[in-house]
Each structure stands twice: as C-alpha cells, then as structure tokens.
C-alpha cells in the first residue's frame, strides 16, 4: 500500500542505496530551508514569548532567519536550470483500487516560483528591518507577537508559492489569511482594528470556499492536484474543452472567486482598505507587496485551466479593469494617505488581473514585481510619517515635509514611489503598466478595446491621486498638526520624530529597488524569440507561457488558436492605426503628465482651488452626488450591509429560533434522551456482586455455545415452522377462496 521506510527498519538496517531519482532530489533538498527558516523563526519567537524577553531579540531572530531564506532563494535561482520538484516528505498518500489522492509536502521550483520568492523573501527581510525600529514602542509588550506573526506569514506565503500541489497551496492560502487576521488585529484593544481583522477574515472565507471547491473539482476531473500532472493530463487530451464535462467550465470561475477574494477585487475588495488598521509594515508587506498578489499567482499557476472556458479570461479582464477604475475614483477623494494607498493597491491589482485577462501573464507578473517595490516604499513612507507625527495621516494637516529637518529621505523616496505608481516615463511602473495596456489592444476579445481606453483613463486618475498626496504632504509650506497617538506628549509643544537609520536605510534600499525594477525590461534574455527581457524569461517556464509575448509558436499555440474569442498575437491589433506596443509609450506618458499636471495645479500652486472646486460641485444640485459618493467610497459598504448582512442577520435569527425550539428542543433532546434512558435500564446489570458477574459471564458464553451446537436443529426447526406457517396460510387462503 504505502512505500515508506519504517522507523524500525531505519534502526535495524543500514540505509538502502538511494535510487537515481532520490540522488537527484538530494541535490536541492537544502531548498527546503527557504521554507523552514521562517518556521524556525516562529518557534524562536515563541520561546522569546515564553521567556518574556524584553529586548529586540525577536526582531534580530526574524531578520536573520528571513535573510537566510532570501540568500537561499538567490542560490536556488543561481543553480536553476529547469523546473524541478523537491520532495520534502510524504504528506497525504491515499491509494485505492480506482485511484489515489497524493499530496506530498514537496516544492515545485520553476522560474515563476523563483520570481515570486525573490521579492517575497527580499522585501520580507527589508520590511522586518524597518519594523524593528517602527515597532520599538512596543518592545516587551507586543513586539514578539508582531514578529511571530510576520514569521507565520512568511512561512505560509512560502508554502503558497513553492508548493508542488494545490493542497500545499491551500495550506499556505489559509495560512496567509490567518497571519493577515493576526496582524491586522495587532492592536486588539482598538475596536476598529478588531472589526477590520474580522472583516478581512470573513470576506476572505468567501473566496476560500471557491478555492476549496475548485481543488475538489480539479481532483475529480484530473485525478490529481499536482501541477505538473494536471498539465500532463491536459496535454494528453490536447486541451480538449469538452474533457471532464461541466467541471472544466466551473473550475476557472471558482479559482477566480478565490483570487478575487485574496487579491481584493470587485466585489470582494472591501476588506483591504480596512486592513490598514494593522501596523504599517504589515500593510506594506502583506497588504501591498506579497499576500494580495497571491490571487494573481494562483491564476498564473493554473493558467491552462482558464484557457478551457471561452469566457473565463474575459471575465477576469473585465473584473480587473472595472476594479482598477472604480478603486481609483475612490482613492481620488480620500484624505487619509494610507487609505489612498490602499485603494491604489486595489486599483493596481485590478491592472494585474486585466493583464491576465488579456493574455499577458508576462505583463501581469512584471507589474506584480514592480508594484511590490514601489507600493512597499509608498506604504513605508506613510508609516514613517505616521510614526513621526503621532499617527497623523490626513493630507490636509501635513505639508512641506521635504523642507523639514530629517525628512528629506522620506520625501524623496516617496517621490520615487509616486513616480513609479504614476507611470512617469522610464520608471519601472511605466514599463510594466504599458505591457498590460498595450496588450488590451493587441488581444481580440469582448470589449477589450474599451477596457484598454478605460485603463488608460485610470492611469491618468492614478497619476493625479498619487501626486495629490506628494504635493500636499511633501511640497508646499511647512505645516503640521500631530495626530492623536501622543503617548503623553503635549500637543502644543509637539516635535516630529524623524526616522532613524533602520527606517531610512530600508526606504532607500526599496526605493532603489523600485527604480532598478525597470532594468529587467532591458535585460537580454537567453531565449531568442521572446520579447520583454528577463521577466518574460522567468514566466516562460511556467504554465502561463501562453501569455508571454513571442511565445506563440510553442506548446500552447494550438490552445490559443482553438479559442473563438481570444486570438493572441494573430493578427496584431492596433490602437488608432498604430502598433500598440510603440504607441502606448507616448499615450501613457502623456496621460501621466496630464494627471501630474492637474495635481500640480490643484494641490501645489493653487491649493485653495481644489476646495473651491469641491464646494462648487457640492453647491450644485446636479453634481452634488459625485464628491459625496466618492468620499463615501460609493457607499459599497452600506450597500453590502443592506443587501447581504441584514438579510443574513434576519435569516440567522430565524434559524437560531428554529434551532432552539425545533431542532434542539424536539429532535436533539428527544433522541439524546434515548441512550441516557437505556443507560438507566442497564445500570442494574452492574450491581457489584461477584456471583452475578460470574453467572452472567459463563451464562452468556454457554448460551452462545449452545446456540452454536444446536444451530442445525434450530435452523430446521425455524424452517419447519416457516413451512407450517405457509401451510396454514395456504389453508386459510384456500378456505377464504372457497368462501
């Protein structure tokens, strides 16, 4: 049944000579430590908590462990030649005659995994360094809890990205959800933080149901949950869209539900803005750079499955495009800079889904990569400001930061982040966003042209709200009001605490990363026919190679051609009669400049005009709704409460009463009283008397033996009784018939 080396035989015999496969796997087995280091860090943090450590030791431990993980990832990347499975240990292996369910704890390393792991562990390390200073007011209180949470998160995220099957991914998926809950609710004495943590968890559950069902259907359809085997099954059926019946059409939508929940897309995005209640390093790491890109990772990993349904990828594109636009409009009207960044994250994630939908997994992955850096730096600068101004995040109450002593690094690294986010020419965000925007015009699909224009317009909005923040907060005359987290300081005599070395170092490092993230676009790749540099090469080994420009000749070509609606790269689409890839450089550049220009006008040169515009819009009866609705986030939360929560509450109340009086009252207690009643009947059997025990024992045995000995007689007796009864019946019948 199961081939395992038993503990006994391990002791008894010398180790058997490993087979060739095993020898090969041993080469990379150290890669398991990428996974184990965060776990070790968690255990050590747990020990710190147990021994009530009152120093910064947990931070040091976490930083060292995560840095080791990062270095190992670099080594793995360096030694990478082809996709490989690294077996860590047997996990679930159930075999029966017709099939099997195998989910080993194994790592699947291809270049896509490496791409993700590079920024997950790299940024994880840097953000842990940042947090070591940021969280120092909590040393001895929540400090250990915080770093334990970060370790849990990194472990779960590593499982999610590196697992070789969907079950390990699921483990990681739930794990990051749990870590996110843990860290959003870090300030558990604040009711809003607790509410936000619950909201994030519950909304994510909706998506997780999708993932669980999808994994189940994938297993029933393909007989496996391992990525490489799913691909093999698909290839052996030459991507037949009728294979497996309705399930192959249901799978992509369920996976989508999961991805939209985790990556905060319409209609499940509502948890992400509230998640900003957590400490800022958490927002930067989990809710901007890494965890929220898990949905994109999931879809890239299972890309071939999305090709099996005609409308799956267009749905992804539409949801992504609309979310990008919708979230950007909300972001324009917020005053809390961290919330603006949160809505911006939702919007940028929308771009990535748009990229996936218009079949450029390359563009999506590249945008994930660049976004991880520039959004992390934006969040971390917001955190530094919040840290320095006692929790102040309102852009109306902060101004001229770049002219203040000690705030130059924060201001200019924030500028770098803003430039990338706004898609300023020749920054990393510019190239990655263009790869998606252009592809919307290249790929033929339902309404993709419209989505392309909408995304270009959104790019303008993005440039506007990004620089609204920067011009308001960092430029202009020096002015500030402290927030309400004063820790006993006098508000009238408040001095901002400028960040020290750790925070500044991390800001500069990540800002540099954000700038350098433009380089992969130009880095030559080794595969000749691919466009798009290093990132394209990294995505090309993965199941989503169909979405890499220049890769229309390999394995996935028949699949793409078979598609009625999505015809990728053939023939080349156009935008206003030009080649989209070239035209987009100019169009998005111009749109970005317009956005920045408007922000410059409204929020630096004529600051009062923004308020004038707002009051004018509010004064006019016809336009009043616009700023009101935007500031109130289009009332989505209220609509959800009215449409979903209230009916559920009423239903819940009804079920609760039904449960109390019908189920519990009549059924459960009724049935439950049976065993208890019978227990009372049986109780006299145990009267404690030796003699009666002995008689029962022997009597029971003798009874059975007698029964057995006279079995033939009893059987014949029963038979004769039966036949007699039949005879009597027959007699009665005949008598009855005669009458």
């Amino acid at each position: 049944m199961i081939e395992t080396v038993s503990i006994l035989s391990k002791l008894a015999t010398m180790p058997a000579v490993p087979s060739a496969d095993v020898l090969h796997a041993v080469d990379l087995s150290w890669a398991g430590f990428i996974l184990w280091m965060p776990l070790i860090s968690l255990v050590l943090c747990g020990l710190c908590a147990a021994f009530k450590v009152k120093t910064k030791a947990p931070a040091v431990i976490t930083i060292i462990c995560l840095a080791t993980s990062f270095v190992l990832t670099l080594f793995l990347w360096n030694s990478y030649t082809q996709p490989e499975t690294i077996h860590l240990f047997d996990w679930l292996q159930i075999h029966w005659e017709e099939g099997s369910f195998v989910a080993n704890f194994a790592l699947y390393v291809d270049s896509l995994t490496l791409l993700w792991m590079l920024f997950v562990t790299g940024l994880g390390t840097l953000i842990a360094v940042y947090a070591s200073e940021y969280m120092e007011h909590d040393v001895g209180k929540g400090y250990t809890r915080f770093f334990a949470g970060v370790s849990v998160f990194l472990f779960a995220m590593t499982c999610l990205v590196m697992g070789d099957n969907l079950l390990v991914l699921y483990l990681g998926w739930e794990g990051v959800g749990f870590a996110s809950y843990w860290l959003i609710g870090y300030f558990y004495q604040k009711p809003s933080a607790v509410a936000a943590a619950k909201k994030a968890f519950i909304v994510n559950r909706i998506g997780d149901v999708g993932l669980a069902l999808a994994i189940y259907l994938i297993w029933t359809t393909f007989g496996t949950v391992q990525y490489d085997e799913i691909t093999t099954v698909l290839q052996s059926h030459s991507y037949d869209t009728t294979f497996g019946g309705w399930t192959v059409h249901a799978i992509p939508y369920l996976l989508m539900l999961a991805a939209f929940g985790k990556s905060a897309q319409l209609p499940l995005y509502v948890w992400l803005p509230d998640a900003m209640e957590g400490p800022t390093p958490v927002s930067a790491l989990i809710h901007a750079a890494t965890m929220v890109t898990a949905g994109i990772y999931l879809i890239i990993r299972t890309y071939p499955l999305f090709m099996l349904d005609e409308y799956a990828l267009p749905t992804v594109a539409w949801v992504g495009g609309l979310t990008a636009f919708f979230a950007a409009t909300i972001g324009m009207a917020q005053y809390d800079i961290k919330r603006i960044m949160a809505y911006s994250t939702v919007s940028q994630l929308g771009y990535m889904f748009l990229g996936l939908g218009v079949v450029t997994s390359y563009g999506a992955a590249y945008h994930v990569f660049t976004h991880a850096f520039f959004k992390a730096v934006l969040f971390l600068t917001c955190g530094a400001i919040m840290h320095g101004f006692a929790g102040q995040l309102d852009l109306r109450r902060l101004s001229g930061l770049r002219k203040m002593k000690g705030w130059k690094i924060v201001s200019y690294t924030m500028l770098v982040g803003c430039l990338c986010l706004a898609g300023f020419p020749f920054t990393s965000g510019y190239f990655s966003k263009d790869a998606i925007l252009a592809e919307a015009f290249v790929t033929q699909g339902p309404g993709f042209q419209f989505l392309g224009w909408l995304a270009i317009f959104t790019a303008g909005l993005t440039a506007y709200y990004t620089f609204r923040v920067w011009f308001r907060v960092c430029a202009g005359p020096v002015y500030f009001e402290p927030g309400d987290e004063l820790h006993g300081e006098d508000p009238a005599n408040f001095h901002p605490h400028a960040p020290r070395f750790a925070i500044n170092f991390v800001l500069v490092a990540i800002a540099l990363g954000a700038l350098l993230a433009a380089l992969p676009y130009f880095m030559p790749n080794e595969t000749e026919h691919l466009h798009g540099g290093w990132i394209a090469e990294m995505v090309n080994d993965s199941p989503a190679s169909a979405g890499v420009p220049g890769n229309n000749s390999v394995a996935h070509a028949p699949l793409v051609e078979a598609h009625g609606t999505i015809e990728h790269n053939i023939p080349h689409g156009d935008i206003l009669g030009m080649d989209p890839h070239k035209a987009m450089y100019y169009i998005s550049g111009v749109v970005g400049f317009i956005g920045i220009g408007i922000a410059l006008f409204l929020h630096l040169f004529f600051r009062s005009s923004a308020d004038t515009l707002r009051s004018k819009l509010l004064a006019n009866r016809a336009t009043r709704w616009l700023p009101t609705a935007m500031e109130n986030k289009w009332y989505v939360d209220e609509v959800y409460i009215a449409l979903i929560r209230s009916p559920l509450w009423i239903l819940g109340k009804f079920f609760s009463l039904f449960d109390k009086y019908i189920i519990d009252g009549a059924l459960v207690n009724g049935v439950a009283s049976l065993p208890r009643a019978s227990a009372r009947w049986f109780a006299p059997l145990h009267n404690g008397s030796l003699q009666s025990y002995a008689i029962s024992m022997v009597g029971g045995a003798v009874l059975v033996v007698l029964l057995m000995l006279f079995m033939p007689e009893i059987v014949s007796l029963l038979k004769s009784m039966n036949s007699q009864a039949q005879n009597i019946e027959q007699v009665v019948r005949t008598v009855g018939g005669a009458q």
Partner: protein, 498 residues
C-alpha cells in the same frame, strides 16, 4: 532452539529488569529504593532498542512461528508504551511511607515496602505480552497469557491502601480465574479436534478439515470458548462486567496499565487463534457471528454505560470496553486491512488512553486521589497543561480529526467497509456518536467550566505521571505525522513471508 532463544532477547532483558527492580526495591539506601522506576524504564528502553537488532530479515526467515513478523511490532511498542506506563506510576508506591522515613518518623523495613515488587510485576506483565508473540503452541500461549494477567491482580491490590482496591482485586482475580478456565477448556477442545498443540500442525489439520467440508464442531466450540475466555482480557461483552468495578477500584496508573497491556495480549491471542483456522475463506460462520454479536454488544454497552457515570475512572473504564468493541471490527474484517487496523489502533489507543489516566493519576485533592467528575471541573485554571492533555486525550479517544484517534478509527472503519461489514460500521458510528456525550463532558469540564469549591484544592501533585500525561498527549497530537510509518510497520508485521 537456539534461534528461538535469540528472539526472546527482549523478553529476557525485561525479565532481568524485573529481577533488578525487585532487588533494588529492597535496598536500604533510599536513593536506590525510590528510583526503581528509572531502572524499569531503562530496561524497557533497552528492550525497545534491542528489537530491531533481534528481528533482522535473515533471522526472521529462519523463524517457524505462525506470524513471524508480529513480534517486532508488538515488542517494540509494548516496551515503548511500557515506559510511559511506568512513568504514570511514578511516585505512586510507598509515598507516605517513604515520606515518614525521610522525616525520621519510621524506619525502613523490607516487609512494609512494595515499590520494587510493583515495578517488577509491571515488567513481568509486559514480558508476558512479548512472549505471546513467540508462542508456537497452545501451552506456551496459555502460560504467556497467565503471565500477563497474574501480576495485574497483585498490582490492583497493592496500588491503593483502600478497601475498594482490595475488593476490586478480589473480583478481578476470581472472575479472571473463571475466564481462564473457560479458555483452557476451549484449548482442550481444540486439542481434541486436532490432536496436537503445535500451531503449525493445527493449521494443517484445520485446512484438511476445511477441504473435507468444514471444521469439526468440537474445534469450533473450542475456538469459541477460547475466544470468550480472551474476551475477559480485552473486556468485551459478556465478559466485561468486571471492568468498571476494577478500573474504578485500582489507582489510575494501574488502570491505564490494565486498559493497555492485557488488552494487547487478548487481541494478539485472538488474532493468533483466528489465524489457526485460517482467514482465506473467511472465519467459520458461527465464529464470525459470535464475534459480530460480541462487537455490537461491547460497543453499545460500553458507551451507554459510560453516560451516567460520575466517577472519571469508571467512565473511562466503560470507554475502554467500547474501544475493544471497535477493535473487534478489525478482527471480523480479517487480514490484511483489518488486522493492520487493529495493530495500529492498539498503539494509538494505548498512547491516548495512557494520557487520560496519567492526567488523573498526577492530580490530587489534599492528598486524596481524584475520582469524581466534579474534581476536574475548572482544571484549566489551576493547571492549563493538565487540562489540555486531558482534553487532547479525550478528543483523540472520541476520534476528532486530526488527532491520532481519528486515524485509528478511520483505518478500522475503512477495513470494516472494505470487508463488507457496513452494518457493523454503522453501529460503531452510532456508538461513537453516543460516546461524544461523555468525552465532550470531560473536555468541557476540564477546559471550559469554572472551579467549584470541591475542585478548588485539586492540584498537580505527582511529577512523573504529569510528564507521562504531557508526553502521551504530544503523541496524540503529533502521532499523525508518523502514521504512515506505523501503518507500514503494522503491514510488515502481518505479512507472512519476507
């Protein structure tokens, strides 16, 4: 013969340990006397380590016993869990007497101590289980079974200085004698049917009888009586009546021992006897029917009986009866799945049950033993670890996934369904559902309830039982990680040839 002696090395080590314990217990040096438990543990560990070296593939190939591999599995785990059982009894014997000697209120007298004997008896009983694996004939089997049982009678009697324990020991002894008589009568009938005591020859005779149209009625009667006699060892209906009284009367550590060691011995002997008549064409219908009835009665009577108990030990005693019923499903299902499931379940049950009893053993209310349900109410306030280990072990006994007990039940039920015994498995599922009532009550009382005036003085008093409880709770939690290894070992244990 020399080969046979080779396989007895683990037993010999344990026997040597028994002698050492008996001697050390009489030492005038208090330091040696009080640490008899360590000696017992050391010899058990030695036996445990020796097992893989004794059972090398070359040696097993020369063995002439019925199930040549089974010894490796049983001896290893009997010794391993034996260590936990000895630990649960740590500090139990002579506690007040040693205290008095230390204070100078009493002087040492060899007649008044029993710690050494107690540990020696424990080791003897464990050696009995090991010897069953090496049985080649009925006489050996009977002697080994009695070696398991006889020490336990004494252990029950001397474990507590109370009349309840004496009464329990008396009942246990007399009813044990009745059951041994039944079993022996069965063995005699088996001899009558086959004309031999030697297992391998008996297998041939039964196979011949089968070929000629069925096993002789004398043989079937003998097997039936022998199984009924063994039902006493595993506490299965109708021979279960003693269990609640005895389990309640003995001290918790001894009860843990009673619930594991004799049960393992009985199950092993039933497997051996059923192997005699052969599983290939199914057990004779009469035997199967009898086992079926016994299994159903045991599961239902055990679980229903536990519902209204107010004594924790009595409740767990009934629970122990019910678990024998579950294991009989595996016997009815037959090899390989059913027997593998039984062997795995024995280990799982042994570990988790020890955890539950060890937790009870380590608690004390003003120097009194803890026995009523009320005593453990609000335990988490005073000892979170003890409450957790009780909760984990009860959860595992109930079979809550992903605890160890769940996987054991899963294997048993799966084997039952694979053998076509759907009805039996349904009964077992209902019985399990009934058992949730009292297991959850134990969990709820210890983890959720608040302290009552009576339970306010309950504390963790004994160190080693506490350690045993924690260790076995960890096994119940982390066991599923090595489940595949244990299953592989059990599969190897029932395989007939290399």
């Amino acid at each position: 013969m020399a080969d046979r002696l080779w396989f007895l090395i683990p037993e010999l080590i344990v026997l040597a340990g028994a002698v050492m314990c008996a001697l050390a217990g009489l030492s005038t040096t208090a330091g040696i006397r009080r640490n008899v438990g360590f000696i017992a543990c050391a010899f058990l560990a030695l036996a445990c380590i020796s097992v893989p070296f004794v059972y090398t593939p070359e040696r097993i190939a020369t063995a002439d016993s019925l199930l040549p591999h089974i010894g490796k599995y049983i001896k290893f785990f009997a010794a391993l869990l034996g260590i936990l059982l000895v630990m649960s009894a740590g500090g139990l014997m002579d506690r007040k007497y040693e205290h008095a000697i230390a204070k100078g209120k009493a002087t040492f007298s060899a007649l008044r101590t029993s710690g050494g004997e107690f540990h020696a008896l424990m080791l003897l009983s464990i050696a009995g289980v090991m010897l069953i694996c090496e049985a080649r004939d009925l006489i050996w089997l009977f002697l080994a079974l009695e070696l398991v049982s006889l020490p336990t009678y004494v252990m029950v009697a001397i474990s507590r200085w109370s009349k309840v324990a004496q009464e329990a020991a008396m009942k246990y002894f007399f009813l044990g004698a009745v059951s041994a008589a039944l079993m022996l009568y069965g063995f005699a009938l088996l001899y009558l049917a086959t004309g031999t005591f030697v297992f391998t020859e008996m297998v041939d005779v039964f196979a011949m009888q089968r070929a000629e149209g069925g096993i002789a009625v004398v043989g079937q009667t003998g097997l039936l009586l022998a199984i009924f006699g063994l039902c006493y060892k595993i506490a299965a209906a109708p021979m279960h009546l003693y269990a609640p009284d005895v389990y309640q009367g003995a001290s918790a550590a001894v009860t843990a021992f009673l619930a594991f060691i004799p049960k393992t011995a009985g199950m092993l002997a039933i497997i051996l006897l059923c192997t005699l008549v052969g599983w290939e064409e199914g057990l004779p219908p009469v035997i199967e029917m009898a086992l079926w009835v016994v299994a159903v009665l045991t599961m239902l009577l055990g679980n229903i009986g536990a519902l209204l108990q107010t004594s924790t030990q009595r409740m767990l005693g009934y629970s122990s009866i019910a678990h024998s019923g579950y294991m009989l499903i595996g016997i009815i299902a037959g090899p390989p799945l059913g027997i593998v499931a039984v062997l795995v379940y024995l280990v799982i049950y042994g570990a988790t049950n020890t955890s539950a009893f060890a937790t009870l053993a380590c608690l004390s209310r003003d120097g009194e033993t803890v026995d009523s349900l009320e005593d453990i109410s609000g335990l988490h306030k005073r000892s979170p670890l003890a409450a957790t280990s009780l909760a984990v072990s009860c959860g595992s006994l109930l079979g809550i996934p992903p605890l160890f007990g769940f996987w054991g039940k899963l294997l048993l039920f799966a084997a039952g369904i694979a053998a076509g015994q759907l009805m039996l498995v349904l009964v077992a599922a209902v019985a399990s559902a009934i058992s949730a009532w009292y297991y959850l009550r134990l969990i709820g009382l210890s983890v959720l309830s608040s302290t009552t005036p009576r339970s306010d003085t309950v504390r963790v008093a004994l160190r080693w039982p506490f350690v045993a409880a924690i260790l076995s709770a960890i096994i119940a939690l982390a066991g599923p990680l090595v489940l595949t290894n244990i299953v592989a070992d059990a599969e190897q244990a029932v395989s007939e040839t290399e």
